[in-house]
Structure formats: structure tokens, C-alpha cells
């Protein structure tokens, strides 16, 4: 029999993104815009009455030869263009891409060329946050986005609207941080797959609805009498942008891992603390972005070691999207760092279309077995 939490989690997958968006549009008459990971400030869309739709990947079914997205790109990029142009995501009224990687940035042009009449924007996030002038730049960038989105929806995102959107998203992030805390401390009370599905459910509904879902999940966790489960505590790293299929996370857990921390769906979790909801809201958002820039390269490697120590993890599982160059370039540095720290690790290159996880299971079983962990 399912416990209350399992029932809530099962409800997350009942409707597809397209169905959720269609229902919302029918109900409100509003516009829905896709937000490619990682870093689009959803608050600005929300404040203008637009539904921000989180793009989280999935299988690529056909290869649109004319789309211009080469086969040596992540399935997230290929899938987004394909599904956005003539698949289920064609229900979107536009897309916003961060220039977080070269692929994401170029997708904007592909989208623009192929979807006349729908909005297509790039948000350029500062890569030199140390500069004293990064703030002014990003604030103008967010202002530009506010104008574009306002024109599209016919409703300006006023400062007071933005402040209340920030509050709603702060609540969302606080609830997600709470899920992470529980998992870090007592991972048997909330499985990684469950938390992934709960967080991902926010991609296609307004944030208030997602907050309600997360609140009910928190209550269910509180009430549940799940028994302590043993396993090898691991951290999953390498998937902030394109997450692995839920089946892979589930397989890791079934094969004996207790996932105490991961970096999935980083956009929903990018701020370590609340964004201030007083004063100029755009400026507050900018301060939060500049405060919590995700570390990269050698600094990220240090952070990973720190994360492992903090969570008491005994191993690291790298789940990197196939063809994702930014992650694949950090990977050797991260692996070298965990090796120096004598931390066992395992790597999977994942793809949105993966459906069979037998070999993953075998590798994980061998990984969690003695003698790796019990010398």
C-alpha cells in the first residue's frame, strides 16, 4: 500500500507538461513561456501574469534534420527545439534562454528563426560577478526582460507585483531547502526520486500551486513512519541543467544508494537564502544572483569535497548529460579532486531517452558492495 507521501508523488506525473499548460491557459487566458535552464528569473514572468514553464528535458523522439541542432548536443537542447517547434511544447508562446552555455545561447537563434510570432529571448547572466559593474548590467538585462514580457502579456510587472512574486518564489525555495535538509539528515524519510519528482512538478504550474503541493508533501513526511533504511550515502553531481531520467535515480536508490544531496533542477534551488522582498525588487533579484553564482572549475571541485564532508557521504555518483560540454569539462577536475580525497566515485553519462537501467543497476551494485566501502 502506498503511504501518503507516495500518493502525493504519484500525483505529480499524472498530467503532462502540455496538459498542465493547456489547462492553465484555458482557465486564465494567459500566455505561457518556456524557461530554459539555468537562471531565467521566473519571478519577472510570474509578476506579469505569464506562466513560466520550466524545461527539464526528456526523450528526443525524431531528429528534425532541418532544425540545425547537431546530434552531438545534449538531448535537452535537441528535445527542446523539436518539441517546441512541432511537438507537445508548441503550446508555448515563447522561450527564454540563458546564455549559460554556448548551446543554450544558440538555441535562441534557432527558435527565433523557426517560430515567427513567438517571443525568443536570451538572458545574459554575468560571468564576471566580481566586477563592480555586473550589478548595473544585470539589472538592465532584467529590466529589458520585464519590458518584453510585459508587452507580450499586456500587463506590466509593477514593483509591487514583483515583490509578491519574489515572496511566492522565496516560499518555494524555502520548501525545497527543507526537503534537502530532511534528505541530508534522514534520507530514508524522503527518497531522491521522490524529491526530484516533487521539485520537477513545479515546472508547469503556477508557483502558488507548487507551494501547496510541497507543503502537503512536507506534512506527509512529518506524519510518515518510514523505517530507517541502510545504504551507502552518496552525493550526485553533474546534472544542474539536464537532469537524468527519474528511472535512473530510482535505480541508484534501489541498488543501495542513499542519495543525501544532488544538483538536479538547479534553477529552482539557486539561491541559498531568500531574495529580499523590500526595496527595488529587480535590484534584490540581481543581488541574489550575484551572491549565489554557482562555482565552476577548481572552485567547484573544492565545493564538492566540502559537500561530501558536510553530508557525511561516502561516495560520489557523477550523472552527466551526454554531450554536455560544460559538465564534461569540469568532470576531470571533479574526479581528480575526489580521488585526492580518497572518495569512491562512479560516472554515468545520461540521456533523456534512457529507458533501461540494468547496466546502471549492476554497476551501482558493484560500487556499493564491499570492498569499495568496507575495506
Amino acid at each position: 500500500m502506498m503511504d501518503a507521501l507516495e500518493e502525493i508523488v504519484a500525483s505529480c506525473g499524472r498530467t503532462s507538461v502540455a496538459e498542465d499548460v493547456a489547462a492553465w491557459k484555458a482557465r486564465t487566458g494567459g500566455k505561457a513561456v518556456g524557461c530554459f535552464p539555468v537562471g531565467v528569473p521566473e519571478e519577472i514572468l510570474h509578476a506579469a501574469g505569464v506562466l513560466p514553464v520550466g524545461i527539464t528535458g526528456g526523450a528526443v523522439t525524431t531528429q528534425r534534420a532541418d532544425s540545425g541542432v547537431p546530434t552531438f548536443t545534449c538531448s535537452l537542447a535537441r528535445g527542446t527545439i523539436e518539441r517546441g517547434l512541432d511537438g507537445d511544447l508548441s503550446i508555448l508562446d515563447g522561450m527564454i534562454f540563458p546564455d549559460a552555455c554556448d548551446v543554450a545561447r544558440n538555441l535562441e537563434g534557432i527558435w527565433r528563426e523557426n517560430s515567427p510570432g513567438r517571443i525568443s529571448e536570451v538572458v545574459r547572466l554575468p560571468r564576471n560577478p566580481q566586477s563592480k559593474h555586473a550589478h548595473a548590467f544585470l539589472e538592465s538585462e532584467f529590466e529589458r526582460l520585464r519590458t518584453t514580457v510585459g508587452e507580450m502579456s499586456g500587463r506590466d510587472a509593477k514593483d509591487k507585483d514583483l515583490r509578491s512574486s519574489i515572496q511566492a518564489y522565496n516560499r518555494n525555495r524555502a520548501l525545497i531547502r527543507e526537503l534537502s535538509r530532511i534528505r541530508g539528515e534522514q534520507p530514508w524519510r524522503l527518497r531522491a526520486t521522490e524529491s526530484f519528482l516533487l521539485v520537477r512538478a513545479g515546472r508547469s504550474v503556477p508557483v502558488e500551486e507548487h507551494n501547496a503541493l510541497l507543503e502537503s508533501a512536507a506534512r506527509a513526511i512529518e506524519m510518515s513512519g518510514r523505517r530507517r533504511r541502510d545504504g551507502v550515502r552518496v552525493v550526485i553531481e553533474g546534472a544542474p541543467c539536464e537532469p537524468p531520467p527519474a528511472g535512473l535515480i530510482e535505480t541508484l536508490e534501489e541498488a543501495g544508494c542513499l542519495v543525501v544531496e544532488d544538483d538536479f533542477l538547479a534553477g529552482r534551488r539557486r539561491f541559498g537564502a531568500d531574495v529580499e522582498a523590500t526595496g527595488s525588487p529587480l535590484s534584490a533579484l540581481v543581488r541574489a544572483v550575484l551572491r549565489d553564482v554557482p562555482p565552476s572549475g577548481p572552485r567547484r571541485a573544492e565545493g564538492l569535497i566540502e559537500k561530501v564532508r558536510r553530508t557525511g557521504a561516502r561516495g560520489v555518483v557523477f550523472c552527466v548529460a551526454k554531450f554536455c560540454e560544460p559538465e564534461l569539462l569540469d568532470l576531470p577536475l571533479l574526479r581528480a579532486a575526489v580521488e585526492r580525497g580518497r572518495i569512491p566515485h562512479l560516472t554515468f553519462e545520461v540521456d533523456g531517452g534512457m529507458g533501461v537501467f540494468e547496466s546502471v543497476r549492476e554497476q551501482v551494485e558493484a560500487f556499493v558492495e564491499p570492498p569499495v566501502f568496507f575495506p
Binding site: N106, L107, R144, L329
Partner: protein, 384 residues
């Protein structure tokens, strides 16, 4: 060609034997004039990786990097360089000095940023990131440009501290003036391809001719080189041409000759290419400008070809096809360079026959000569 070889050899020699602090820079939208005016010697890991590919030693370095955990699916230049570092930093051109600072402009690609982060870690040297926001349409928007200018100012004080030398206004102005002169000459050479037949190949030759403007911009040697090159091109008697093509994409360096010969057989002359714009471009009369030192460096940084959106790139291709009266477009898509290749297949220009080819710029394994030849032949056969 010999003048060029000598220049490049001198560049390497100065790096291994010369004096003064060393800065590492990327090619895309770099602001080399500033460190140069502060007495830095400038080194370009990409140019070095390219030389390794051209001399056919990149393959070994790439394998070495893959043994260290670099994926087969990431940029070959990065792997070539990481493999070189793992081999003690000694390549076919001697030993490259350690950097005193790395200065990464982001306009070329975000891969260089990861690359420079890794190098900064290896060499335990500081990294300055010069963030150059991408350009959506024709020109960079004012708030983005302002941000770049301000960062260049911040950079100037960082360089001053590390180089222990203040960038004097005069020296910077002199350096920028030399850049401008070389740029004028280089543009004249590229423009000569408008003649029919063209005396100059704007891809197969230009990718070599562009080396000084890439690595020595701002030096007197660079100006001299282009002055002599312009005279040489002016004095040429153009060979007959049968096709006039525009090429988009970098060359496959490890198989450069074989690739060139595929086109030569058909009498195809390249009259314009986009690869010559990977540093930055000089369209609409843009030049480095001693009277607007920081502004013109910032603008140059933003003008790098891969810093532009796909629709803007298509507009450039259309314009070049018209301006140079080309009759075909050749797109060479390389795996290593995603900012170039993602979306490249949709750059086809209406009413212009387009040939789409794929291989790589550094990794020799991705070049299939037989298949390429078949496609090139079929393309020109039909269009004959």
C-alpha cells in the same frame, strides 16, 4: 609564407626566451592591446593548439587528455592543450612560459572559460574574466557595451598591479594605432577578393594570413607584415576561377591540405569567409581607435563572430555573398566548436546552393576524406 613562418617562430621564441610578464588570452574578442601596452608578452592557448593540430601532434595530446578523463565529446583544442600540459608543457615549439595572469574574454565561447579556469588551477595563477555579453542583432546594446568598457577599466588596474607597470596613455594609443593600421591593410587584402577572378583566397589563404592580426595585433611587426602582404597580393596575376564560394566555419587543421585540394580540383575560390572574424570583425568601417581606447577595445570584443546570434550571422553571410558575388555557400561544421556549429545547418541562404560538411578542427579522427570528396564532387557536379 616564409615571412609568416618567421613571425610565428619569433613569437614563440619571445615567449620562451624573452622577458616580462606573461598573459594568456583567447582569440575571440580579446583585448590584447591593453596587456601589450603594459609590457606583457601575450600567449594564445588556442593558437598553440591550432599549431599542434596543423603539425599533426594534436592527436597524441588529445589521447593523453582522454586518458585523464576528458570526454571524446569535448573541444579538441582544450584536450590538445590539457594533453600538452600533462606532458610537461613542452610541445613542438619549445616550452611555453607559465602565465602571470590569465585573461579570458567570453565572446568566443564559454568553453574557453572552463579551459582557462583549468589552466589557472594548473598554473596557480589569477584569472580575470572579461565578460562580453552576446549580441542579439546588429550591434551590441548600450548597457552591455558599458559593462564591457567598465570591466576593461578594472582590468587595467589589475594588469598594472601584476605587471608593475602603468599602462601609459601614450603607449596604449600607439598600440591601438598600430592595430588600426594593420586592420586597414588586412581589410584591403580581404576586399581584393571582390575582383574577378579573385587574386586572393579568403579562406584557404586567409586562415594563414590572419595569424598576425590574431597574435601580434598592436605590434610594428604586424603592420609591416600586412603592408608587405598587401603589396604582394596587389602584384599578383589572378589565376582563373570557376566557382566563387563563401565558407562558414573553421578549417579541419589536421587535414588542411586534403580539404583544400577537394575544392581546388573544381577551381573553387573562396571569396569571403567567416573564420576570419573569430577574433572580431571590421565591418562597417570599425577599427581600433586610439581616441576611444577602452570603448573601441570593448566594441571589438563584442564583434567576435561567434558572439553573435544566428539570425545576425545569416545576415552577414547574405551580405558577403552579395558583396563578393559568390555563387555557393560551403558550411563546414566542426564538432569541437559548438558556438559555431549549433544551428549552423539552418544558416542556409535562400537561392544559394549550399554544401554542408562535417569534421573537426583539431581531432584528426573526425575527418573522412572519401566521404567528403564524394559530397564535394556531387555538389559541384550538379552545379556545373
Amino acid at each position: 609564407m616564409t615571412a609568416l613562418k618567421r613571425l610565428m617562430a619569433d613569437w614563440y621564441r619571445d615567449l620562451s626566451e624573452g622577458e616580462g610578464p606573461v598573459v594568456y588570452l583567447p582569440v575571440g574578442g580579446n583585448v590584447a592591446e591593453l596587456p601589450r601596452a603594459c609590457g606583457f608578452r601575450v600567449f594564445f592557448p588556442e593558437v598553440n593548439a591550432l599549431q599542434c593540430a596543423l603539425r599533426k601532434v594534436a592527436g597524441e595530446f588529445i589521447l593523453r587528455a582522454e586518458e585523464q578523463g576528458y570526454s571524446p565529446d569535448v573541444c579538441g583544442y582544450v584536450k590538445s592543450d590539457m594533453g600538452l600540459a600533462a606532458s610537461g608543457g613542452s610541445g613542438p615549439f619549445g616550452t611555453i612560459p607559465k602565465p602571470d595572469i590569465l585573461l579570458c574574454t567570453t565572446s568566443g565561447c564559454s568553453t574557453t572559460l572552463k579551459w582557462f579556469e583549468a589552466l589557472a588551477g594548473i598554473h596557480e595563477a589569477p584569472l580575470f574574466v572579461l565578460d562580453v555579453p552576446s549580441v542579439r542583432d546588429g550591434a551590441a546594446d548600450p548597457h552591455a557595451l558599458r559593462y564591457v568598457v567598465r570591466q576593461v577599466e578594472e582590468l587595467a588596474s589589475v594588469l598594472e598591479k601584476i605587471g608593475r607597470r602603468k599602462p601609459s596613455r601614450d603607449r596604449l594609443a600607439e598600440t591601438l594605432e598600430r592595430s588600426r593600421q594593420a586592420e586597414d591593410l588586412w581589410m584591403e587584402i580581404l576586399d581584393s577578393a571582390r575582383a574577378k577572378p579573385s587574386p586572393f583566397d579568403a579562406f584557404f589563404e586567409a586562415v594563414f594570413f590572419m595569424a598576425p592580426i590574431t597574435v601580434l595585433r598592436g605590434t610594428p611587426e604586424c603592420v609591416e607584415y600586412y603592408r608587405a602582404a598587401r603589396e604582394e597580393v596587389r602584384g599578383r596575376v589572378a589565376e582563373p576561377e570557376r566557382r566563387r564560394i563563401v565558407v562558414d566555419g573553421p578549417p579541419p587543421w589536421p587535414h588542411f591540405r586534403a580539404f583544400r585540394d577537394l575544392f581546388k580540383r573544381w577551381g573553387a575560390r573562396c571569396v569571403a569567409s567567416t573564420y576570419v572574424r573569430v577574433g572580431g570583425d571590421w565591418d562597417e568601417g570599425f577599427r581600433h581607435d586610439p581616441s576611444r581606447p577602452f570603448e573601441s577595445m570593448a566594441e571589438f570584443a563584442a564583434r567576435c563572430y561567434t558572439n553573435r546570434s544566428l539570425p545576425a550571422r545569416r545576415a552577414i553571410l547574405e551580405r558577403e555573398i552579395r558583396r563578393f558575388d559568390a555563387d555557393a555557400l560551403v558550411i563546414h561544421s566542426v564538432r569541437s566548436c559548438r558556438p559555431y556549429s549549433v544551428g549552423q545547418a539552418c544558416l542556409r541562404v535562400r537561392d544559394v546552393p549550399t554544401l554542408f560538411l562535417e569534421s573537426d578542427l583539431a581531432d584528426p579522427r573526425h575527418f573522412n576524406e572519401g566521404e567528403m570528396r564524394t559530397r564535394v564532387d556531387a555538389f559541384f557536379e550538379v552545379a556545373r
